[in-house]
């Protein structure tokens, strides 16, 4: 049976809960002051809170009687309507960041009681699909603000586990709301008027969800529906937008806009995350666009954990509500939206109880374009490729140099690089595909069959040098 939440806030604009020391039992879906407030923009079209809520209630009443909603919408407004409707209908939104065939099939098998919410054709997935575009935009119907129980599981985000299977991380509605509140406090949003969040990261990514969906919902902001990444598209988005904006982006995108000296009209702030931003780049960006550039440090498991104003220095400031501890080479955080102690996958040097330096990821971990994978898992995928006898992925200087992409050394006599890549593409997220991949006669394994880090580095230098030499 389908179940729809009947609990509705008394009237928009009035706080439906009191701020107590303990976590309240419910949080409203959104906190905008009035039903006429703008909650989203698509090009120069504004969507009001009332329109949004009508679409949410209408969609919620038409969702299939299942448990999980796999939200693959690319348009951020569609995503938000789908996410909110699922929440109201007590469905858990699944947020995969990868659309490759094998992970999609694994997801369908793991969550057979799921359906797909989408706004385009999904070919890699066999689950029943609901086209969200057909349900958005009703002119009448219910438009109350849903009150969502704090402990309701709102979403499941995924990271790649070392076994090669994605690891699921459940997010309660309470933890998402507390995360959005922490984000606002970290950037002092209460002293800013409502703005529009423009993102170059997908809403399915934890960082994208926090900054481009939860922040607008919980701080009375609007979100930009677009999913532009090209410099010319971002410029047009900002030109058409009838509201000052913040850009939620990554160092890869920021570097691109800087190198193009892209005009970003109406921009008031930039937030970057997914990988560290060089201080010189942040300073250049602030000089070019005359806006502050902030960085977020976080992870899928915990969400935002700390921030820094990069131009000022390398130190990160922990979110106010969190505590951090360091024990035997590992660092953990707890409190606020994080909950119980969470062990971090990065190497961290604590300067005091509130500030720390980020030294880099643990050696098994690679981060490309905000996506994280275990080298062991990638190597397992590589070893399953037809005709591959031996092989290893390699991350030069942990991604600090070069293009930040991985390379690979593969022993596969008689197999073409194209065939290996085609096979790999079915098994891993394409951002981790090796660029380049070197076919080699053998790998420098030691007597116990291991590939020591230093030996691999020397080997990599030699192979890359001779490859350059061959190309001339």
């Amino acid at each position: 049976m389908r179940s729809i939440d009947s609990q509705i806030a008394p009237a928009p604009g009035r706080r439906a809960y009191t701020r107590a020391r303990s976590t309240p039992a419910v949080y409203p879906l959104l906190t905008h002051d009035s039903p006429t407030c703008t909650i989203a923009w698509r090009q120069d079209r504004a969507y009001s809170v009332q329109e949004f809520l009508r679409s949410v209630w209408a969609l919620a009443s038409q969702l299939p009687a299942k448990q999980y909603a796999l939200n693959l919408c690319r348009d951020r407004y569609h995503f938000a309507v789908g996410f909110a409707a699922a929440l109201v209908a007590r469905h858990i939104s699944l947020l995969p960041t990868c659309r490759a065939a094998e992970p999609s099939q694994q997801l369908s098998q793991r969550y057979p009681d799921a359906y797909v919410l989408t706004d385009h054709d999904e070919t890699e997935i066999t689950l029943p699909q609901l086209r969200i575009t057909e349900h958005v935009g009703g002119a009448s119907g219910a438009s109350g603000i849903p009150l969502i129980p704090t402990d309701r599981i709102a979403a499941i985000a995924f990271t790649s586990g070392s076994s090669g299977f994605p690891r699921a991380h459940a997010k309660s509605w309470g933890s998402l709301v507390l995360g959005a509140k922490a984000l606002g406090r970290q950037f002092d949003l209460s002293s800013h008027p409502a703005r529009t969040a423009v993102g170059t990261v997908p809403a399915q990514h934890m960082y994208g969800l926090e900054t481009t969906v939860m922040l607008p919902l919980q701080w009375g902001w609007s979100l930009h529906a677009g999913n532009s990444i090209l410099p010319a598209d971002i410029r047009t988005d900002l030109e058409q937008l009838g509201s000052p904006a913040w850009l939620m982006t990554t160092p890869i995108h920021l570097n691109a806009y800087l190198s193009e000296r892209t005009m970003l009209p109406g921009l008031e702030g930039i937030i970057s995350a997914t990988m560290p931003l060089a201080r010189s780049v942040a300073q250049e960006a602030e000089h070019l666009w005359h806006v502050p550039v902030h960085e977020i440090y976080g992870c899928t498991e915990g969400g935002m954990l700390a921030s820094r104003h990069t131009a000022d220095g390398d130190l990160w400031t922990l979110c106010h509500e969190l505590r951090m501890k360091h024990e035997r080479d590992t660092t953990s955080v707890m409190g606020g939206h994080v909950g119980a102690w969470l062990q971090l996958t990065d190497r961290i040097s604590m300067q005091n109880s509130r500030e720390f330096l980020l030294l880099g990821p643990n050696y098994d971990l690679v981060k490309v374009a905000g996506k994280r994978a275990s080298l062991a898992a990638l190597n397992t995928a590589l070893s399953r490729v037809n005709g591959v006898l031996d092989g290893t992925f390699y991350w030069p200087d942990q991604g600090r140099s070069g293009n930040g992409r991985l390379s690979a050394f593969v022993v596969a006599p008689g197999v073409t690089p194209a065939a290996i890549l085609a096979d790999l593409r079915k098994r891993i997220d394409p951002v981790f595909l090796p660029r380049p991949m070197y076919l080699v006669p053998t790998l420098p394994r030691n007597a116990t069959g291991k590939l020591p880090h230093e030996q691999l580095e020397t080997f990599a230098d030699r192979v890359r040098h001779s490859a350059r030499h061959l190309r001339g």
Partner: protein, 93 residues
């Protein structure tokens, strides 16, 4: 190196070869530029490029040819041949 295909003008072929090199170099692909099938898909199937690749290609095209790529020109990225036609029409240098 495979001989250039006998289609279009010779400058078109030159541009196509330049673009194949630009794609291979800017994305550090392990294929010979001449081995890119001019009619095969660059994204999705074929070379299977992703959105960061699209950003890198857009930057390289802007720098070398003064052409600003937009998502509405996505059809131009359908294949090397489509890209060649697009750049030939819009290049400013």
């Amino acid at each position: 190196m495979a001989p250039p295909l006998e289609t279009g003008s010779s400058t078109q072929n030159e541009l196509e070869q330049d673009l194949a090199r630009l794609i291979v170099e800017s994305l550090r692909l392990e294929v010979l530029p001449a081995s890119i099938d001019p009619s095969a898909a660059l994204f999705g199937e074929g070379l299977g490029l992703d959105s960061i690749d699209m950003l890198e290609i857009a930057l390289a095209l802007s720098k070398r040819y003064g052409v600003e790529l937009r998502s509405e020109n996505r059809a131009a990225l359908a294949s090397l041949r489509a890209l060649t036609a697009h750049i030939a029409q819009h290049r400013t240098r």
